[in-house]
Symmetry: C2
Subunit: 476 residues, 2 copies
């Protein structure tokens, strides 16, 4: 039942589906209702006022008294071959591997995804659509003493035959040190859901026949609806996007057919770039980190750029714990990530680079054509400006296939937003393939990228987010 071909075809049907009786008739109205129920009040507070968190007297590193959750410490980075040869920065160290999981089930012959309306303190708009389950290990082992995570039981020991995707993937390598989360897609049997869910007092019966039962704050959506919502600003959260990128959707081109480079050549390219990279990352005390200062209860870069380490105080309704404080990274400017895409021999390709980042577990991962924070380049010379940045920003509307500004993880990042762009390449942008390759870029067929996402350490979170957003992914 879950052979790759079969599940792919069923996902493609869901991506091509019209509205179904199981979905909320108006997702925006449903979300508005959820926003009223699950409100969250967030206030910035000085780092010294955090409860349960403290700076280590020697190093200044910020940690939780339980030793769990995460710490914020410093790193010194040397990257002699990179655009900036050396710098220091705070980074989040969260060694625990959490679960990001989407449950899917078939209703009336169509696969639906179980999405959650979830408020996070860092979201600029409170509630966004999240995966079914989004749980740190501390969460699911109940370190904080809060309520159980709904639906988690389906992800902890799944029946192997029901697993559609299951892979540990990295998160932002500029902000997280070696962070990985387990990205999972699990198929549930809708008849099984009926009986177990309808027993629960928390059930919201939803659809007419009761078969669409989902707990309060959750809804079943077809892939067609999820993909339509992906194009809206700040609606599908980062955790949902990375899980969506792992869906084994059918793509034209099998194995190496139709790709510009055989996969063997791409793997060698990645190996070679990882071997050549000389990025060196050393832990360093947060206190006294070169170029960073603590003032007004936050830690910021002397240039005012990049991000600040801040404290927030949160009062929430509709979450496991009603009130807490925590440190977050407050990101100053909107990021930009972009794919240049080109159809080569009828097969869609995206232009990727192998990008070393200090937080990468294995040196470097495949990144989008452009990945930067444009505002940070104001004080650098023109030649430091990332290649293709101007090309994607100035592309005429008819070549812009996707353009939405979405939020990064709202549990760790305060108002961190990124503009995601997919731009059809014009030959003038990229020029001959040989020049591109000397500059460290390669055209990768989308089916090759999707195959690499089955494994850890290949596509970075920005590239995966774009992969999830690519228009027409299901129909080639």
């Amino acid at each position: 039942m879950l052979a790759r071909g079969a599940i792919g075809a069923r996902l493609a049907e869901s991506a091509a589906s019209g509205p179904t009786a199981v979905e909320p008739p108006d997702v925006h109205a449903w979300l508005a209702e959820q926003r009223e129920r699950a409100w969250m009040h967030v206030e910035r507070v000085p780092l010294a006022d955090l409860r349960g968190w403290a700076a280590d007297p020697e190093t200044g590193d910020i940690g939780h008294r339980s030793g769990k959750f995460f710490t914020v410490h410093g790193i010194d980075v040397r990257d002699p071959a990179g655009p900036v040869p050396g710098w220091s920065q705070p980074i989040i160290n969260q060694p625990e591997v959490g679960v990001l999981g989407i449950a899917v089930a078939e209703f009336d012959g169509v696969l639906h995804l179980l999405m959650q309306a979830k408020a996070e303190p860092g979201n600029c708009n409170g509630v966004q659509l999240s995966p079914t389950v989004q749980a740190t290990r501390s969460n699911y082992t109940r370190v904080h003493g809060g309520a159980a995570v709904p639906y988690l039981e389906h992800f902890l020991e799944p029946d192997p035959a029901r697993v559609i995707a299951d892979v540990r993937q990295s998160e932002q390598g500029a902000w997280f040190l070696r962070k990985r989360n387990r990205n999972m897609v699990i198929e549930l049997d809708s008849s099984e859901l009926d009986s177990s869910e309808l027993d629960s007092s928390e059930v919201d019966s939803g659809g007419a026949d009761g078969s669409t039962a989902a707990r309060d704050g959750f809804c079943w959506l077809t892939l067609a609806t999820v993909r339509r919502l992906l194009a809206e600003d700040d609606l599908i959260n980062m955790d949902a996007r990375t899980v969506l990128s792992c869906l084994p959707l059918p793509l034209p081109g099998e194995a190496d057919d139709g790709s510009l480079h055989p996969t063997r050549e791409l793997l060698s390219w990645i190996t070679s770039a990882r071997t050549a990279a000389e990025i060196d990352v050393r832990r360093s005390p947060l206190r006294g980190l070169t170029g960073w200062s603590q003032a007004d209860g936050a830690i910021r870069h002397d240039s005012g750029l990049f991000f600040e380490v801040v404290g927030v105080s949160v009062r929430a309704c509709g979450r496991e714990v009603a009130e807490w404080t925590q440190p977050m990274l407050a990101v100053r400017d909107v990021g930009l990530v972009a794919f240049l895409v080109r159809r080569i021999g009828g097969v869609q390709h995206a232009l990727l680079q192998v990008r070393p980042e200090p937080g990468c577990l294995d040196v470097a991962e495949l990144a989008p054509t452009v990945q930067c924070t444009p505002a940070n380049y104001g004080f650098l010379p023109a030649e430091a400006r990332p290649r293709f940045l101007d090309a994607v920003l100035s592309a005429p509307a008819e070549r812009v296939l996707f353009d939405a500004t979405m939020s990064e993880e709202g549990g760790r990042f305060y108002h961190a937003r990124t503009r995601y762009l997919v731009v059809e390449d014009s030959a003038a942008d990229t020029g001959p393939t040989g020049d591109l390759e000397r500059a460290g870029f390669k055209w990768v067929a989308l089916h090759q990228a999707a195959d690499l996402v089955r494994h850890s350490h290949y596509l970075n979170i920005q590239a995966r987010s774009l992969l999830a957003c690519l228009p027409g992914r299901a129909d080639g």
Copy 2:
């Protein structure tokens, strides 16, 4: 020309070839001659007598004054779910990624592998057959001021179309902290070799027509000959074995056809085991490491088991540097690694486990059915004895498909030898698949294992060595 199918078929032809005019007529005679030319005198010396190496005054960690090569320091390991819940040990930390490369070229229509007769101080018999190139980064950037590494130029910036395999693979996770080497197989054009090699004064013309030119100490062998030599004790070195495991030989069964578990299920199994593992590894000073003491110029475990950190003094002829001293791990007892194999639906499968080791970059890798040092179990209760150890040791001769004792890396390990066994499973050994899976084992089709070897972090070095040795790999 190098499409996966095409190169696979050409490798299979080489594996089925009879003797060719290009090979030395008697490899053993050729090796004996090389042993006379490339002798190496190795003497154990106290650690304090090493030249260029020193113990850090604070930690006792042993490092080279250049800051290059490698260091020996301590680790404290906690593995609450493992057979031993916690221990401390010295470990080799060699962050540099070296190159292990085999060049192949076609002579008279048959692919040949360029192998090197190389002496290493840790080899019990001096010279063994090694890859074309075996170079640490310190080697090839000439930190030691020695001679250039022959043939290295073909591996540093290869033409992508000539790359047959190129992947960073782990080494012993019990002795090396996060060590990776770049495993490469590159096809050379034999006509190109003629001209460049025949110019060299070092050329040994070898074959009758001069086309088989190889530098002194190197020879061209068919895959058939290499595979025959693999079955002999202490002849094909570890570095050659790991590169050989990366050859894309054709195997019956394409994609998921014929495998007991779809690859998606295997990937989920690995993800799950990595997430569940609670192994925690912390760096610790070598001086004062719990359970280890320095005496008589070496560092050893108080039980006398495992390994010692020793010093050696080497005088060599036929290598880049004629005389040096270095620390090594002297391994006390012969290790054992074994595959139980079974034909399921006509497709050969091996029984693998996901094994956390302190040196793994990503928590755990796939390991053979049995991987242990039997002598270390003398003082442990019977229930601590590794599963299937007795089954593989007591299998009748007709079920033993492979049995050879080979050397581990002779540049770091002193007289470290491992017995490699492949045993045909009897139903009595393994019992029902369900029980096996609860115990953490799965049957993996050989073509699935070979596909995973294209990527880093999946098969550990012991499993890869066995994969290279498997009888009948080419003909299924």
